[in-house]
């Protein structure tokens, strides 16, 4: 496949107009960042691959509905994040017992399981961060992955997750408190969880309404 200098919006328009290669080029252009969001949100390689495939097929089919209200990448990320969160919710509805992560041969890990998420030199720390993140409520995890890990501005993350900016700030802040405890930066402050999040969401929504 040859890669053009067309913008994301031009590629998506070309796809809608029948260019068979345009969406593939869009996928190639952004696949690593989309993959990073999926694998870091779901932590399971196969689940992340399935979620990403579902999301991209959804985007492929619904491209004609993209109105240009946000960047194409924001739109794609939003679809991917929603697909990942859907899977988390389904997993919570039908919980399974995860396989132990340690002691497995490398070849098994490469087939199914957690993807190494950092260079080998810092692998232990990376594992700590990843494992701690996986224990957060999904709302806090997805917000932190987009803002702190992937580096998206709060405003863009808010569009991706379909919530107010204040809600993103609150989810990130409260998620960081939990991580601070898990990672040893803070000694066990008693924090509320989802109830607190709901209050924060309500507060953030109130703030957004008053602005």
């Amino acid at each position: 496949m040859t890669h053009s200098t067309r913008s994301d919006a031009e590629l998506l328009r070309a796809h809608v107009d029948g260019d068979r290669h345009a969406f593939g080029e869009l996928f190639h252009r952004h696949r690593d960042r989309l993959w990073a969001v999926a694998i870091r949100t779901l932590t399971d390689r196969e689940e992340a691959a399935d979620a990403l495939q579902d999301a991209l097929l959804n985007a492929h089919r619904s491209a004609h509905r993209f109105r240009g209200d946000s960047a194409v990448t924001t739109w794609l990320h939003r679809i991917v994040v929603n697909a990942c969160l859907d899977r988390i919710r389904r997993r919570q509805a039908h919980p399974t017992v995860p396989l132990p992560d340690s002691g497995r041969p490398d070849d098994e890990r490469s087939v199914r399981g957690v993807e190494p998420a950092a260079p080998a030199t810092d692998h232990d720390t990376a594992l700590d961060v990843r494992q701690a993140l996986s224990q957060l409520p999904e709302e806090q995890r997805s917000a932190l992955i987009l803002v702190d890990v992937q580096g998206y501005p709060v405003a863009e993350a808010a569009v991706m997750l379909g919530v107010a900016e204040g809600t993103i700030k609150s989810r990130c802040a409260r998620g960081r408190v939990r991580l601070a405890t898990m990672l040893g930066h803070l000694r066990n402050p008693a924090t509320s969880s989802r109830v607190g999040s709901s209050k924060a969401d309500a507060r953030a929504a109130k703030v957004e309404e008053s602005k």
Partner: protein, 299 residues
């Protein structure tokens, strides 16, 4: 600071303050005063600020590690996308609508064989006339000045606009209601569509029932879905994600799913199978697809 000392401080509130979530609220000043005047809050603020900065550094460093998509997964997804059919291009407008301009031609969309702009417009209008006007009545009683009462007019506008209407992947035979019922993911496959006459079985009164005084309203989070265009787009997204042919909608319930506001849709797909689908408030919004929260075939 020990956990006991931390217990004197509302850590969530303090975290919101440190994270900027209280900006623009009176609570920000209140927390600032506590931090300034109360030694426990002051110490917690200092420790929390340092800890949160350390976490941010950890996460940023982790994010800096490149994670390219594995080649086998890239190949697999690339192949799936390549196999995905492109829809046939619509080359003529239906019903003598406005003549195409160059820009409209550039924006032309592709429709499935079983969907046309005219059909979707009609579908939304029928649905709007059947249900959204009823919702409008409910909205008027609960929330003066809401846009619900104008919904059918909006639907007509959208139908008249033609090109702005999404493609029709569904038709409608049933009711829209707002039971407020909390459907559960674990029992979704055994969910029963709400009765169309609630008084017959003692349920909550239905939206727009003649002679009934509505006691429940559409949850605030779902208000956007009372717009005919958004609702049509949402139902279309559900049909599209389900992807099993023409979808016939029986019941749309403004309700809850696992405790959260959700549009719960009962329909029959092109295979004749009955399904229930739960969508979140973003359903029909650009980029959100059906905002699917759950779905199940009904036995």
């Amino acid at each position: 600071m020990t956990g006991r000392e931390f217990s004197k401080v509302d850590i969530d509130l303090l975290a919101d303050y440190v994270g900027g979530a209280l900006d623009g609220t009176p609570e920000k000043d209140a927390v600032a005063r506590l931090v300034a005047d109360d030694p426990a809050w002051a110490q917690a603020h200092a420790e929390l600020s340092a800890a949160l900065a350390a976490v941010h550094t950890d996460l940023t460093a982790w994010g800096g590690a490149t994670e390219p998509m594995p080649a086998d997964i890239a190949d697999r997804i690339g192949a799936a996308l390549a196999d995905e059919p492109l829809r046939p291009t619509l080359t003529a407008m239906h019903g003598g609508r406005r003549a195409g301009t160059a820009s409209q031609a550039a924006r032309r969309r592709r429709w499935p064989a079983w969907g046309t702009p005219a059909a979707i417009a009609a579908g939304i209008a029928v649905f709007a006339g059947f249900g959204l006007s009823q919702l409008g009545g409910l909205s008027d009683s609960d929330d003066a000045g809401s846009s619900g009462a104008n919904a059918p007019v909006a639907a007509q506008d959208e139908a008249a606009a033609g090109a702005a209407a999404p493609q029709a992947l569904f038709d409608v035979t049933g009711q829209m209601i707002a039971t407020g019922q909390d459907y559960r993911s674990v029992t979704l496959s055994s969910a029963r569509a709400p009765a169309t006459d609630a008084r017959a079985n003692g349920d909550q009164p239905l939206v727009g029932q003649e002679g009934s005084k509505a006691r429940i309203s559409v949850p605030d989070h779902l208000r956007g879905l009372t717009n005919p265009g958004v609702l049509g787009s949402c139902l279309n997204s559900i049909a599209q994600e389900h992807n099993r042919g023409p979808t016939t909608i029986q019941v749309v319930d403004f309700a809850r799913y696992d405790g959260n506001p959700a549009l719960v849709v009962f329909f029959t797909d092109g295979n004749g199978e009955r399904w229930v689908w739960a969508s979140g408030p973003a359903c029909g919004q650009p980029g959100s697809g059906a905002d699917t929260r759950g779905s199940a075939a009904l036995g």
